[in-house]
């Protein structure tokens, strides 16, 4: 743990703290939160307090972000590994595909994928994916391009190191290099990439849910604000918006600090 930079420790502590808080306050003991919430009842759901809905939403948003971030990081890593192992035309084709996916905004593509997934689910051909699974799959399908490009570039840099050249000269194959030499050096970077995808996934989910396109149940932070927004405009909704906003900002701050510190941390020889 002493090798982890201070900024990364602060970021990870913030993320874990928010996760525990949302679990305890939003899921395990919501009644304790209901009785002590200083922000009062929600204007559109008079039986629930603002704190209950915000912390409940944080739990769902965090779960979506973790699952989608992990899946898109894994997909990106797989694509980058295939690209580097294949090389040549396959690598160039994969890079062009990455560019094409990366050029389109996440929100727009997720909306289209949600429309397609919901139509399939309504017709009974959704493959058992509920709203949560559909959202995670949609986010992963748009989110793999960034990690793929980052992993591909990092792998290309690592492959130019002397120890990799020495292993290759001794007859090490592509898979051997990847498993024995490259993956250990790539692990902290993979964690940093995952942490950088976490807020992006959470914010995209929030925006799409806010539009009312995703049917997340229980409600995520975005869906909570989206279902309240007509009331918020005309009743001055700062009381409802501010806690959800603060939770999103803290989540992003934690993930950004940890991600930046881990991706920039120098590696020590062990």
């Amino acid at each position: 743990m002493s090798r982890v930079p201070l900024r990364a420790r602060v970021g990870l502590a913030l993320l874990v703290g928010l996760g525990l808080l949302s679990l305890v306050a939003g899921r395990l003991f919501p009644e304790a939160l209901a009785s002590t919430c200083p922000l009062g009842m929600d204007p559109t759901r008079p039986d629930r307090t603002v704190c209950e809905l915000a912390f409940g939403g944080l739990w769902v948003s965090l779960a979506v972000g973790l699952a989608a971030g992990a899946l898109s990081t894994f997909l990106g890593l797989a694509v980058a590994a295939v690209a580097r192992l294949s090389g040549g035309a396959v690598e160039q084709t994969l890079l062009r595909a990455v560019d094409a996916v990366f050029a389109l905004p996440d929100v727009l593509v997720v909306m289209v994928l949600q429309l397609a997934g919901q139509s399939l689910s309504d017709a009974g051909a959704g493959g058992g994916l509920g709203p949560f699974g559909l959202m995670v799959a949609s986010l992963a399908l748009v989110g793999w391009a960034g990690p793929a490009r980052m992993f591909r570039n990092r792998l290309a840099t690592l492959e130019s190191q002397e120890y990799v050249a020495a292993s290759r000269a001794l007859g090490g194959g592509g898979l051997h290099l990847l498993r024995v030499h490259l993956w250990p050096a790539l692990r902290p970077f993979a964690l940093a990439v995952f942490l950088s995808r976490l807020p992006a996934a959470i914010l995209t989910e929030s925006t799409v849910s806010f539009f009312g396109i995703a049917r997340m149940e229980p409600m995520s932070l975005g869906r909570y604000l989206g279902t309240s927004y007509a009331a918020l405009i005309y009743e001055g909704g700062g009381r409802v918006v501010l806690p959800a906003w603060a939770l999103l900002v803290l989540l992003v701050l934690g993930a950004s600090l940890a991600s930046q510190a881990l991706s920039g941390a120098p590696r020590r020889a062990s």
């Binding site: 996440d106 289209v112 604000l225 999103l248 701050l253």
Partner: protein, 294 residues
């Protein structure tokens, strides 16, 4: 020039790829009214789905575009759209984006200069906190906070507010990049030499440092333009602006699949145009770009 042409061709290819991919994705959807159990859409919408997408016809993927060019309406009568309406809505969103771009550049330069100053003092943590607050704030949140005061006033105030809220995160993102580039350039020998020869700090910044910072800024303008256009979706929805973002969200919500295909392709085309403009600008202002492509 060859390198630029190659990059542009890569971008332009995106348009037909998006057009065909979105068409076949939408055309494969099982939208049906056959049985009550499977009924998902109204009969009118299902009829427009078959009609507008030319399902089962050879070159059916050209059907939505043919209809638009002939001035016919895509989608159902109540929620469909003609080519003229599409252009009007697109110009509204582009207008909001064009208002947001100078705002974003202002935030970027302001934040870059502030961040360079903060690095040396006790406010250094703000260099991390401000980007996190900006990134952690989805566009709809400041839009919701501003909406009660502006929605019904008109006189371009909602448009201006939409531009303001969409420009925040891209501006700070750009500012972070420019700040890093600024810091790198300020630590170089040529800056010390120019200062040592008696040039004022402002003159060094204007004549020597900023020309080396512009390329970093231009590199980020493409993603920033994408963020501005995508961010306008949420701002338009909250502030009640009847432009392209509102059209797109309503088309998805109401399963107006032909409108989704056309709007997605139009959006991709817009991004390619922005990318082309950035490449031309880079060629004009960055001598290294001209040398690399010579």
């Amino acid at each position: 020039m060859r390198a630029i042409a190659r990059r542009l061709v890569r971008q332009v290819v995106l348009v037909p790829v998006v057009a065909v991919a979105s068409y076949f994705l939408m055309a494969s959807l099982p939208l049906t009214t056959e049985t009550d159990a499977k009924r998902q859409v109204s009969r009118e919408l299902a009829a427009s789905y078959q009609r507008d997408l030319g399902i089962g016809e050879p070159l059916g993927f050209l059907r939505p575009w043919e209809k638009l060019l002939r001035g016919e309406r895509l989608g159902t009568s109540a929620q469909g759209i003609t080519g003229d309406e599409l252009l009007t809505k697109l110009s509204g969103s582009v207008g909001v984006g064009l208002m947001a771009l100078p705002l974003a550049l202002t935030w970027a330069l302001g934040f870059a200069l502030l961040r360079t100053g903060w690095r040396k003092g006790r406010w250094a943590a703000l260099g991390d906190v401000v980007p996190a607050v900006a990134f952690g704030t989805p566009v709809f949140i400041p839009a919701l906070l501003l909406a009660p005061g502006v929605v019904e006033r008109g006189h371009l105030l909602p448009e201006l507010c939409a531009a303001l809220v969409t420009s925040l995160w891209p501006g700070i993102f750009l500012g972070t990049l420019v700040g890093d580039a600024l810091e790198t350039e300020l630590s170089r020998d040529y800056v010390r030499t120019a200062l040592g020869k008696g040039l004022s700090r402002a003159a060094v910044l204007r004549r020597h440092v900023l020309p080396n910072v512009w390329p970093a800024m231009l590199d980020a303008v493409g993603p920033v333009a994408t963020s501005l256009l995508a961010g306008s979706f949420a701002a338009e929805r909250v502030l009640g602006l009847p432009y392209f973002g509102q059209l797109y969200v309503l088309a998805v919500l109401n399963k107006q699949v032909a409108v989704v295909v056309v709007a997605t392709t139009t959006f991709a085309t817009l991004l390619v145009v922005v990318s082309l403009a950035v490449e031309v600008l880079r060629y004009a202002v960055d001598p290294r770009s001209r040398e690399a492509s010579a």
